[in-house]
Symmetry: C2
Subunit: 209 residues, 2 copies
């Protein structure tokens, strides 16, 4: 087949298929040939639309970040906005857990990531936080959201209790694996409360440096 009358591929179709494949079978399942097959095409054809595989993965990551709700920064005061945004962010990542490792590595030059940074950073600066502090707070929220959406702390524990005989305090660690979602959610909520309440207290004390 040479050039078809109607293009078989678009960047959008490729990103959609890649996203679905990653969601369904994980990052490792995404190969250029496999993705092409999914789209009814031969592997190298994808290179007419993306220069590298990494560009495709980046586009998938950006399409996920684009789903995060940034409206709270218009409608709420900063502590509330920060909290609701973080919860939306985490909820989006929870729907696409397999792409989280890519996001956790850094925001990259992805447009949706930049738009998000702009919204968060802008809201904090306008609330009176220094440039440096606003950056720190934004980074902190990222650690919290991606950390709790990433490979869970609890997931690392095996179901075999024998493994933990030498660790007196870990004797019910195997239970954690079963409830890892609740563990990460609990940790996230605790962290969110502590951070935002702590920041709010600092602001009221005037130590916004």
């Amino acid at each position: 087949m040479a050039r078809p009358r109607q293009a078989l591929l678009t960047r959008e179709r490729i990103v959609e298929a890649a996203s679905a494949l990653i969601d369904a079978e994980g990052l490792d399942a995404l190969s250029m040939r496999r993705l092409a097959t999914e789209l009814g095409v031969q592997g190298p054809s994808l290179y007419n639309h993306f220069a590298t595989k990494a560009e495709i993965v980046d586009a998938v990551a950006d399409s996920v970040v684009a789903q995060v709700d940034l409206s709270f920064f218009q409608s709420c005061k900063w502590p509330d906005a920060l909290k609701k945004w973080a919860m939306s962010y985490r909820a989006v990542l929870a729907e696409h857990p397999n792409i989280v490792p890519v996001l956790a590595q850094g925001p990259g030059r992805r447009p949706a990531g930049l738009a998000m940074a702009e919204a968060v950073y802008g809201a904090l600066v306008e609330a009176g936080w220094s440039y440096a502090r606003a950056t720190h707070i934004g980074a902190l929220m990222r650690y919290l959201v991606t950390g709790s959406a990433l490979g869970s702390f609890a997931l690392g524990f095996d179901v075999d209790p024998q493994l933990y005989e030498r660790y007196p305090h870990l004797h019910h660690a195997p239970l954690l694996a079963e409830h890892h979602e609740a563990v990460d959610e609990g940790a996230f909520e605790l962290g969110l409360d502590l951070l935002i309440n702590g920041l709010q207290a600092r602001q009221e004390m005037g130590t916004r440096s």
Copy 2:
């Protein structure tokens, strides 16, 4: 060459070489053939000592975690211990940034990871925190440490200022890339203070649930 009089490889030597290679050239540079070459050996010989590449990477990760100082849990009260341990943890990761993505995915079944979990969890439970809360706090600290040691928030920004013309609050974002280490360190310290002070306040109020 058949079996040599003196074994050329040991698990230790393999882990050391793999760790050095990852530190120097990144995770992607670690291939079985490359690692073997570094050790003066052919690729498949490594399989006499490790079953899979993943096992080698895990061993490297564990050797890094083993360097974290856990002594504070014996010598300090929990807020101080938590803080000093987290700083030691972060310092170790900062020396081996290329392995952090592996650690961030979860503690796995690595012995040093388990020993660390035991120390942290045990100290918190003995300080009166509930099992659930102790788990949450441990997870939170992990988010903070790995997040701030992982691909930096600030690193994602390009040095080209033109990119940020559409983002009014990001106009000096390019500066962040240069100072990304300071940014992550500042965010980490802020987060550590907020979390630990917040937890301490809760404990004093008796809301340790």
